[in-house]
Each structure stands twice: as structure tokens, then as C-alpha cells.
Point group: C2
Chain length 280, copies 2
């Protein structure tokens, strides 16, 4: 059994990005509404990651009670600003229509890959800016030399930013894909026959050794917080004896997800730079 080291994979991606941008300064802006501790923590994590690789980064924080109009106005400003290459929106935004906000972002600056245009491009196998968690799963498998074509992949999550785009990306690579979730009758029937299991239900201990076939690959994208501790979906200690490869939580998919946001940002930077060059 091999425990996948997400921090090491992320480190490799970040090192490469830092080298590539030596003389450039991609600029990433995050919009945040104050009042949620976790949300502010994530924004800081992203800022730190940007600085680590030499990006410029700012968090634009609105006070609690900020209106949709204010947020949309700020997004318009960032869209129009040629010095801004990436825009992120930190959830939750209480009382604000997230769909409307995301739709307002210039797709070319959507470094989280969540704008409908980018989602559609991902579904249509024309991946450019793709959601960061699915991209992290793909990167991890690539890094470990796992070919997904023809493999039986089971994804336990059918959310807009994880399960559905990841399913599309696995299909783009010719895996056979099953997507399970809370309405699935017999989860074990699916996971037990899988070559690769990606679980992101957010339920601690959901995936036990009984769910997993001998030698299968288990990627844990679940995040469950209990006080200061963080757990995934997978009962790591029992599953690791049976799995061929497994990601831990923390230190698995999480750091690679952040590295993928940086990679998207670099891609957006190059795209936006090319576009503004054409306009000049």
C-alpha cells in the first residue's frame, strides 16, 4: 500500500509555476464577505499560496450585509482592470445569489473554473479553466502514473464543483464512470467493484475496508472538521491495508487543490495577457 503525499505533489507544481513566472506578476483578487471565520481562513490560505509562487494577491473584503449590487460592481471593476488576471469569490455570501455573481465574472479570469462557460468547456472536452478539486484528483493520478482509460471509477459526490465536473473529466479520459451520492441505494455494490474510488461526501468514516476492493486506488476529497482536527470520508487506518494507493486527510487532495488554483491562475494570466496584447 502506498500513501500518496499531496504536499509533495503540490510542492512540485508550485516550484514549476514559480520558475515559469520568474519575470511576470500574475495578479489574483479574491472577493470575500466578512463574518465567517472559515471563509476568511481560506482566503488567507489562498493569498499565502499566491505569494509563495510570486503572484500578486489581494483580498477584497466586504462588510457583513454587503449587497449584490456592490459585489457585482466590484466584479465589473476587476473584469475591466487589465492588471487583474484572476478573480475568485469566497463562499458563503449570505443573502447573495451566487449563480448571478459567478456569471458576472469574466470567464477568462475565472481561476476557480466555476463559470458556466468554463464548466461547459470542461464538459465538452475543451478543458481550459477547470474546477480545482477535480483537477487536483486528475493531477494526483497523473503524478502517480495511473492511466484512467478503461478503468472503473466511482465518484461519491454529485455536486456542481466536484462530482459532476470530475465525472466529465474522467469521461474525457475514457474512464467508465459511476457517480453515487446520498440517494444511492447500495454504495458498496459500486465501490466494491471500482479500480478507483473518489469520495467527497463529507461524512467521516463513510468508506471502510468493506467498501474497497483489494488493490484499488482511494482518493479522499471529503473534509469533516471536528474542533481543530480534520477528517476525510475514508476510514484511513482500515482502508490503507487493502488499498493499492490512498490519499490521507489532511495532506492529500487539499494542498494539490490549492496548487491547481495557482496553475489555473497562470493559465488565465497567459490568456488575459495574450488578449490585452492583441488589443494594444
Amino acid at each position: 500500500m502506498h500513501v500518496i503525499d499531496g504536499r509533495r505533489i503540490a510542492g512540485g507544481i508550485e516550484k514549476k509555476i514559480a520558475e515559469e513566472i520568474a519575470h511576470d506578476k500574475p495578479h489574483v483578487s479574491t472577493i470575500l464577505v466578512r463574518g465567517n471565520e472559515e471563509s476568511e481562513l481560506y482566503a488567507k490560505l489562498k493569498e499565502k499560496a499566491c505569494r509563495r509562487v510570486g503572484f500578486e494577491s489581494e483580498t477584497i473584503a466586504f462588510d457583513e450585509g454587503a449587497t449584490e449590487k456592490e459585489i457585482l460592481g466590484e466584479i465589473k471593476r476587476l473584469n475591466d482592470d487589465r492588471e487583474v488576471h484572476g478573480i475568485m469569490v469566497q463562499l458563503p455570501m449570505p443573502g447573495i445569489d451566487y449563480g448571478k455573481v459567478v456569471n458576472a465574472i469574466d470567464p477568462a479570469k475565472d481561476v476557480e473554473g466555476v463559470h458556466p462557460f468554463n464548466m461547459g468547456m470542461t464538459l465538452l472536452n475543451r478543458e481550459f479553466l477547470v474546477p480545482c478539486t477535480p483537477l487536483a484528483v486528475i493531477k494526483i493520478l497523473e503524478h502517480e502514473g495511473v492511466e484512467v482509460r478503461g478503468k472503473d471509477v466511482v465518484i461519491v459526490n454529485h455536486s456542481n464543483i466536484v462530482g459532476k465536473p470530475l465525472a466529465a473529466m474522467m469521461l474525457n479520459r475514457n474512464a467508465t464512470v459511476s457517480v453515487c451520492h446520498v440517494y444511492t441505494d447500495d454504495l458498496m455494490k459500486y465501490t466494491g467493484n471500482a479500480d478507483i474510488i473518489v469520495s467527497g461526501a463529507g461524512v467521516k468514516g463513510l468508506i471502510t475496508e468493506k467498501h474497497v476492493g483489494e488493490g484499488s486506488i482511494v482518493i479522499d476529497v471529503g473534509i469533516v472538521k471536528e474542533g481543530e482536527k480534520v477528517y476525510g470520508d475514508v476510514d484511513f487506518d482500515s482502508v490503507k491495508e487493502k488499498a493499492g494507493m490512498i490519499t490521507p486527510v489532511p495532506g492529500g487532495v487539499g494542498p494539490v487543490t490549492i496548487a491547481c488554483m495557482l496553475e489555473n491562475s497562470l493559465r488565465a494570466y497567459r490568456g488575459v495577457a495574450a488578449r490585452s496584447h492583441r488589443k494594444n
Copy 2:
């Protein structure tokens, strides 16, 4: 065993549309490059369907060897024309980048639901203009009173306009979804356990009674032409004895797909009309 009558379902949808637009005139334009008999036939079928419900319809035919620039110019004209509510592009277009052409269509007039923005909205469970074949499958199941939530659905097709968007739509409705294709090792393992099988591989006789569990629902979206005859993926005579419900080919999904294009057109008409009203 119940044979689903696609023509009757389509007739019902078309009747409702015709009633609803009594005093309106949605206008749908199809762009076609001459030289492919099948393609010209499809364009005519679509025109006929538009006329049947009282839409205005035109086919804009380019001669063989039309350039991308000419096609893109025509799309721009149609986008800007307030009297045009729907735009379709008939494949094949030899030597022309289909992705570029589709991206050029105003998403609000994309009545085939294939623009990346609309695909993304479909994936994100904000369905508005959705691809017609997947929509037809959903409509048929709704018409037959089949609740997909919690059902095991197997889709044999992972194309951009059938398998992947249909998987997203089934997940939006909380089905458990598996997508199989030519790289799938053991198709029977998937289909044999399914409540609902949707097959669109374009391989005559791919799905036999051995693939199908007792009482399952079999939707055939395959199209295989042999001379004047048309077949689906499903070996109808053997499978119908075992299946609970089954669609024939022809007379199953095909007519409903056309009706769904009309329904999308009505939706686009209302959207475009609302938009141009706001502008006035």
C-alpha cells in the same frame, strides 16, 4: 412489457406548443453546408417540424467549400437580428472548426443547447437550453411516470451532446449514474444491474436480452442506417420480452428529440423577446 410510443409523446408536446404560440411567430434559422444528403434531410425534417407548430423557419444553405469566415459572418448577422429567435448549425461542416462556430452563437438563441455556456448551465443544475436528445430521454421518462431519483441509470454513450449532458441531467435529478462506452471492460456488469438503460453507441444489436435485467426500462438512442432501414442499439425483439418498458427505433426517442428542439425554440423565443423588450 410496454412499448413507449415516441410519436405520441412528441405529438402531445407539439400540440401544446402550437396552442401556446397561437399569436406569436418564433423564428428559427438553420445553417447548412450543402453536399451531404443526410444533413440536408435533417435540416428539412427540422423545418417541417417548425412549420407544423406554426414557427417560421428558414434554412440558410452555403455551397460546399464555404469558409469559416462566411459561416461566422452569417451567425453574427443572425445573432444581431431581433426577428431571429433560434439558431441551429447542421453538421457536418467539412474543414470548419465546429467548436468555434458553436461558440459564436448567442447562447440565448442556441436552441440545440450545445453552446458551452448552456452546457455549463446544464451541468450546474440551472437547465435552460439543454441538448435535445438528453432532454428527450428525460421527457419520455417523465411522460411514463418514471421517477429517476435513487434509480440506477446506465448510459452507454459518453459523447459531448448525449452521454455527458444526460449524465449531468440524471444527477441533477438524483439518479445514481454510470456512463459506459467503447473502453468499458464489462458492459453487462453495468447494464445487468440497472433500473434504466439508455443506449446510444450506434451499434446495431449491442444490447441483447442478456444485458438487461427483468423489468428494467430500456431507452434506445442509437441510430444505425442500413440502406433505407433504421435500427437502434437494442435487439428489440429479444429485449422487449424482458424489459418493463422499451422505446422502439424508429418511433421512439427520435420524434421526441425534434419536439424538444421546438420546446427549446419556444423557450429561446420567450427569452429573446423579453430581452429585446427590456432594450426598447
